[in-house]
């Protein structure tokens, strides 16, 4: 039996079946609630506490490092004073961190009040595992009321939307990812387009007509037409506009308002923005 064709080529055949299965997953996609989405949710649930632990360890390590640097300057003092100084410095560093976090959360609360919608604050605990896509892992999940497709914001502007969820964690596709797209417009000229990420870093305003009046420095905001992001949220500023070459559309690049690499806390909008038809009905009433 071991000399048979199937046995001799078992690795090749198994790999072939698995490659076809992978291609099926790529082409069909995995939707929330699918059987294929469950292992992914489980993996996110397993990894998120480890990510959170890494974050705590990092905070502790930076505190220890700052204590060590401080101690080098007071080498001549006696041990009791050094211990005391280390403790005070450690407390101070922790308080400063708490103060910064409180300020950030306070600003997020102000943003939530300004939006007038229900929202949940969450900590960022991880980023994309391969670095090829621009995604984040946040510390809140379905048990906190989050769902796939919800908008994620920061004080500075739009961050992205939730693409995967587990009970205690969620993954966010950032707007600068090459698979991301949202409806936006130039606040000055009202020129509309699709804000999309690029393969490397940055944003593009796609499908903006060549006749549109778009200038460098203009502010780009969300239109609310995509049904995910509330209208009027800051996306970024126009970085460059190119009209050269053939084609119907402008080549517009945008500097994002949010520094995606520095994100620590985000706000998830748990209430869907009102649909335009509903707004029209309200206006009629």
């Amino acid at each position: 039996m071991r000399s048979g064709f199937l046995w001799r080529n078992r690795v090749l055949l198994t790999s072939g079946v698995l490659l076809i299965l992978s291609l099926h997953l790529i082409s069909a996609g995995v939707h929330p609630g699918d059987l294929a989405a469950r292992p992914q949710s489980a993996i996110l649930e397993i990894i998120s506490p480890v990510d959170a632990a890494f974050t705590h360890l990092s905070d502790g390590a930076s505190s220890v490092f700052s204590d060590y640097v401080d101690l080098l300057h007071v080498r001549d003092e006696n041990k009791r004073l050094r211990d005391e100084l280390a403790r005070v410095n450690s407390d101070h560093a922790r308080l400063e961190e708490l103060e910064a976090e409180n300020q950030h959360l306070g600003e997020l609360l102000e943003l939530r009040d300004a939006l007038g919608t229900d929202a949940v604050a969450a900590n960022v605990i991880g980023s994309d595992a391969t670095g090829l896509s621009h995604t984040l892992i946040i510390s809140s999940g379905s048990l906190d009321g989050l769902r796939v497709g919800m908008a994620v914001l920061a004080n500075e502007g739009v961050v992205g939307k939730i693409i995967a969820i587990s009970p205690h964690a969620a993954r966010v596709l950032m707007i600068d990812d090459h698979n991301s797209a949202l409806d936006g417009f130039d606040q000055r000229s009202r020129a509309r387009g699709i804000v999309a990420g690029v393969v490397d870093y940055g944003l593009r305003l796609k499908y903006a007509d060549r006749s549109q009046d778009i200038e460098v420095g203009d502010t780009v905001v969300t239109s609310g037409l995509d049904g995910i992001f509330p209208r009027g949220l800051l996306v970024g500023a126009i970085k460059s506009v190119r009209r050269q070459g053939p084609g119907l559309f402008l080549d517009v690049s945008i500097t994002p308002a949010v520094d995606f690499r520095e994100l620590e806390q985000v706000l998830v909008v748990t209430q869907a923005p009102p649909h335009l038809d509903d707004l029209a009905d309200q206006a009629k009433d």
């Binding site: 992978s22 790529i26 890494f54 391969t130 995604t135 490397d200």
Partner: protein, 168 residues
């Protein structure tokens, strides 16, 4: 079963490292791709149906924490396993240098394939500015690979698994 458990532990630690560290320390995305290193080790040193399934599962686990196209990493990890397996069985070599070389090319090809799968092959023309960073990341992964192979070999010895391919 021991092979599954050993690789499950390495995958969880590897994925947690890859997702947490870039968020905590600014390394400009230059993190070794540990999952590809694990897939190469599987291909070079474990010849059978189970290692192929483990490679697919590792890719699928990576898909849970990376990108928005599930299946891409599963496809690429299976490919990396298959190529490593073929190198090991046809060239009769499975040493750390060969492993590191396979890792180097696998990191670059996996990145390009991920972009092509997500955006179509036209998007590959936009990858020019990314290539230096990609090469550096591949080089870092290749340098780290022998150490990961050694750690895996230690884990295999601890669990009573063969640390090297039979023909090595």
């Amino acid at each position: 079963m021991r092979l599954i458990l050993l690789f499950a532990v390495f995958v969880v630690l590897g994925l947690a490292f890859e997702s947490a560290v870039p968020h905590l320390v600014s390394l400009h995305g230059l993190i070794p791709n540990l999952i590809i290193i694990l897939a190469v080790d599987l291909g070079l040193r474990h010849h059978g149906v189970l290692p192929a399934i483990i490679a697919f599962a590792m890719g699928y686990a990576t898909d849970a924490l990376s990108g928005s196209n599930p299946g891409v990493n599963a496809f690429m990890m299976t490919m990396v396993f298959l190529v490593s397996h073929e190198i090991s069985t046809r060239l009769m070599v499975a040493n750390a240098f060969v492993g590191a070389t396979v890792v180097f090319f696998a990191v670059i090809l996996t990145a390009l394939a991920t972009i092509a799968f997500a955006n179509g092959f036209n998007a590959l023309s936009d990858t020019g500015p990314m290539l230096p960073r990609l090469m550096l990341e591949a080089a870092i992964s290749a340098i780290v690979a022998p150490f990961v192979f050694a750690m895996l070999a230690g884990g295999k010895r601890l669990t009573g698994l063969p640390a090297r391919a039979a023909r090595e």
